[in-house]
């Protein structure tokens, strides 16, 4: 997969959208929550990443029925969900490998 490994902000944005569709502000706050306040996205960074994800067809925009001020919501596409799963699998493998190697060194 050409686009893996993902940058941390992109990964967190995708994880934020994995559970439910969200609009920009909600993604921003969720990313902050997930990273315990370590990753604070600016609007420039957030929408730069959203634009790239839209271009690569990982996410899509849609109008929320009860949205205020015509806010756009974003959700994962099947393609995006599949790629996110691949990235999670890759990270799982890496974590397992790292655990084994570190444990072997400590013995």
């Amino acid at each position: 997969m050409e686009n893996l490994p993902l940058t941390e902000p992109v990964l967190l944005i995708l994880l934020s959208l994995a559970g439910q569709p969200r609009h920009g502000y909600s993604i921003l706050k969720d990313v902050e929550r997930m990273s315990d306040g370590r990753v604070l996205l600016s609007t420039g960074t957030l929408y730069g990443a959203l634009r790239r994800l839209l271009d690569d067809d990982w996410i899509e925009r849609f109008e929320e029925e009860e949205s205020s001020r015509g806010r756009q919501a974003y959700r994962l596409t099947p393609h995006g969900r599949r790629n996110l799963q691949l990235e999670v699998d890759r990270m799982k493998h890496l974590t397992r490998l790292a655990g084994l190697r570190v444990a072997a060194r400590e013995r």
């Binding site: 921003l28 609007t43 420039g44 790239r52 806010r71």
Partner: protein, 174 residues
């Protein structure tokens, strides 16, 4: 604040602004109003982050639209991007400039004090010294910066040419 943000949004290409401008502004407004009851430090950090994010984002979008540079989603692992040792040492350059500015300022002050207390020389007012001080300082900063960039470019070119590997070549094959 909101006006400044709107002005900065104009740095983005028109098509991007049309697509995301209103949304970005709405999100900025939401976060800003949330910070109203927080400390000044948090607000300052937020504004710095926003300004840096906007400038960086606008630059990337222009590069993408003008030159077709597509910034992907992944962590860059190309050869050039992982060569940390060849990054221009910006922090060192800034530090050097600050030290240089301090030295020039101290010398200039010393010159003025000397002129003021010298019996043979007329008293030189501080304002007159400032007239020469700032252009001199600016010129020196430019010269030092240009020298730094030129030096870095030469080193980079030499490294790219692989000349440093010549030292590793021994006379006899292993």
């Amino acid at each position: 604040m909101l006006t400044a943000y709107q002005h900065l949004l104009r740095l983005y290409p028109k098509t991007y602004r049309k697509q995301f401008g209103d949304e970005m502004f709405a999100v900025f407004e939401d976060v800003r109003s949330e910070l109203n009851h927080k400390g000044a430090l948090a607000r300052i950090a937020f504004f710095i982050r926003e300004i840096a994010g906007l400038i960086n984002g606008a630059l990337r979008e222009h590069l993408r639209t003008v030159f077709g540079v597509h910034q992907g989603l992944s962590i860059p692992t190309r050869r050039f991007t992982v060569r940390n040792e060849f990054r221009f040492p910006k922090s060192t350059a800034v530090l050097m400039m600050i030290i240089l500015a301090g030295i020039v300022l101290a010398l200039e002050k010393a010159r003025v004090i000397q002129a003021s207390y010298s019996d043979g020389n007329p008293v030189v007012p501080m304002e007159a010294s400032h007239l020469t001080f700032f252009p001199t300082l600016a010129l020196l900063l430019v010269i030092f910066y240009a020298a730094g960039v030129a030096g870095w470019a030469i080193l980079f070119a030499l490294r790219r040419s692989g000349v440093h590997r010549l030292a590793d070549i021994s006379g006899e094959p292993k």
